[in-house]
Symmetry: C2
Subunit: 373 residues, 2 copies
């Protein structure tokens, strides 16, 4: 599934290609987030124009809405949302822990049992039970090219004993998932395991080794970008990534800012997703290029378009964008759209930030190719 | 400015062309609403693809945000929002009365004086004063192709004496506006007067005659679609429109549903604007064609896409739309987008409804040409 194309001479960064049933993906890559079967404010034509290679959706959200009956009727998520490319779905474990408990006291609503996790819907409070097998069944209906297994995302900070306890459960579930995947017909669907273990070196290494022994299609590193420092995150990558096989893709879940992505690529990571570009867009925070040298800290700039100083700035939002609306509309106009709560503001800012992130990945691949990263 | 092309044999309906500095407009026509310098959720490319001939914006809103400094700096609204076609701006009188009072007791906030109206901004409570001359000055900065004069939109229901009192003020203001327009250099900008008089025949006729005597570029009929019955509205048109000159365009402000537009066209109206297609879109109410015979009551259908019955409907939103997203996405998917509060829902529904309204006007012009309406 993963073919290594080029290793950088100056870091652990690598270029490769991920082959899926719905298209090849040049790695390292970033996955725009379509949690609920839509990248917020954008059409599929927009996603195609952005040249996104793959999108990410979410098992927990799709299971609740539109539900499996609808997805099954359409033959999967891709036909439902009219996306022709590959799809990765998170297993929903993270959402069960972060969302399902929000209606009341979490302890009442999310119960981890040996064979899975019981939770209540954050929408209507209805009771559900996810097992390692069930989340794969759901992802089969969704038709994900890359399925993630059910895991426990250990909260940060966590004691060593709590992290070890969560890890034991996660490993049990990984074994069950791997067995189920072997027995059932998942055809062209890939299955990724998730390395956990908080920031503890012994736990992360054990987690990686145990999962590698089970032979998954790829390996995610979960439980980061949950409140630890950047240094802790980088250190965790430093001792975790070398445990993962070179011929399998490595996915750092939920990370991050451009500089975090670059640091992770330097440490051998291939795959990324993050809400930052789309969520910050909706708050008027724009990513813009300053220069092309990714080794300098100031290669990009954030601007807060809602700042009053943009009220009279007649410059283009992005004069070199492939989107005519970003080339033609001014910063002043975008400031006005945010100021007056016009929904068009969200679309323009989202396009701007996703274009930036996808350009970032393209530049990263080029720099690796040139041994400059 | 208005050239009559064809009068229907079977009604007072007429085809014509309105010539403006920024393009000719085939009448009867509908103006999509860009109150605050944007048609909600749409880009200018969308408006162009919809083949909208003219858009409507609002003096009160633009005056407050982005403000005259910004608009002046851009050389007007068209450059600010990148729209190449003609623009009509409402004078803001209606908004002063309907919005400016919403922060507290209206009586304290909106004061009609003989020479204009004092109001507080609905945004920050700041005090402002609009005179008949000032709203023209503002519309000059905006660069409107069609400027509306300041008027008092009499509330419904109104006593004859209240309506007569408002009308006297409105006529005074119209005289002042007409004089100011004559004295100042408004170049290619047209100026429209607004016939008021509630539903009283004598007042409407007097208003029309007085304004016609002042010789404006065109005549609007205001103070309708404010709560009166459809029969009252049609009756008012029946005795008002014949008072207006044949060689000037007639604009029914704020109307309405497709059947209201058709009835008004039958009575000789040329121009329309209404929030219905865009506002109802945002509440999931879609306009769809049933058949082409506009003389039958059931030529269109409204569907409420949020209705659970659409959850599993795999049919296209509109298989004959010029927008690929409306052809390709299913009703089921749109139902899901509304259900999950995805902002893309608003864009799709808005495109659908504006396409319907603009097609409606095209069909109306064709039917008039064929003496079938």
């Amino acid at each position: 599934m993963y073919k290594l194309l080029k290793k950088s001479n100056i870091s652990k960064a690598r270029n490769g290609v991920l082959k899926t049933a719905h298209g090849d993906i040049q790695a390292p890559f970033f996955m725009p987030i379509a949690t609920k079967a839509a990248v917020k404010t954008l059409t599929i034509a927009d996603i195609e124009n952005l040249q996104a290679q793959i999108i990410l959706s979410n098992t927990y959200h799709l299971y609740l809405r539109p539900g499996l009956d609808v997805l099954d009727d359409f033959g999967g998520l891709r036909e439902f949302m009219k996306w022709n490319g590959p799809v990765l779905t998170d297993s929903g474990g993270f959402q069960v822990f972060s969302l399902a408990g929000t209606k009341s006291r979490k302890d009442d609503l999310v119960k981890i049992k040996s064979n899975g996790v019981e939770f209540r819907s954050h929408i209507d409070g209805s009771r559900h039970f996810f097992t390692p097998e069930k989340v794969l069944d759901i992802q089969k209906v969704i038709g994900s090219d890359i399925m993630m297994i059910l895991d426990i995302c250990t909260a940060n900070p966590a004691t060593h004993s709590q992290a070890a306890k969560d890890l034991a459960t996660t490993l049990d579930w990984a074994r069950q998932a791997r067995e189920y995947y072997e027995k059932q017909d998942f055809a062209d669907q890939n299955i990724f395991a998730i390395v956990q273990g908080s920031i503890y070196e012994d736990l992360r290494k054990k987690s990686a080794r145990d999962l590698v022994a089970l032979d998954f299609s790829g390996y995610a590193i979960g439980g980061l970008a949950v409140g630890e420092t950047h240094e802790e995150m980088y250190k965790t990558l430093d001792f975790t990534v070398p445990e993962l096989p070179e011929n399998k893709p490595r996915y750092l879940m939920g990370v991050g800012r451009p500089e975090n992505i670059i640091e992770a690529v330097r440490r051998g990571v291939d795959m990324f997703d993050c809400v930052i570009p789309t969520r910050e867009a909706r708050h008027g925070r724009l990513y813009t290029w300053h220069h092309d040298d990714l080794t300098q800290a100031d290669f990009y700039r954030n601007i807060t378009i809602t700042n009053a100083k943009f009220k009279t700035n007649k410059k283009s939002i992005n004069p070199t964008s492939k989107f005519v609306e970003l080339r033609e509309y001014s910063l002043s106009y975008l400031n006005h759209l945010f100021d007056t709560h016009e929904p068009l503001a969200l679309r323009l800012a989202t396009l701007n930030n996703l274009e930036f992130y996808l350009q970032l990945m393209e530049k990263i691949r080029k720099r690796i190719d040139e041994d400059k990263l």
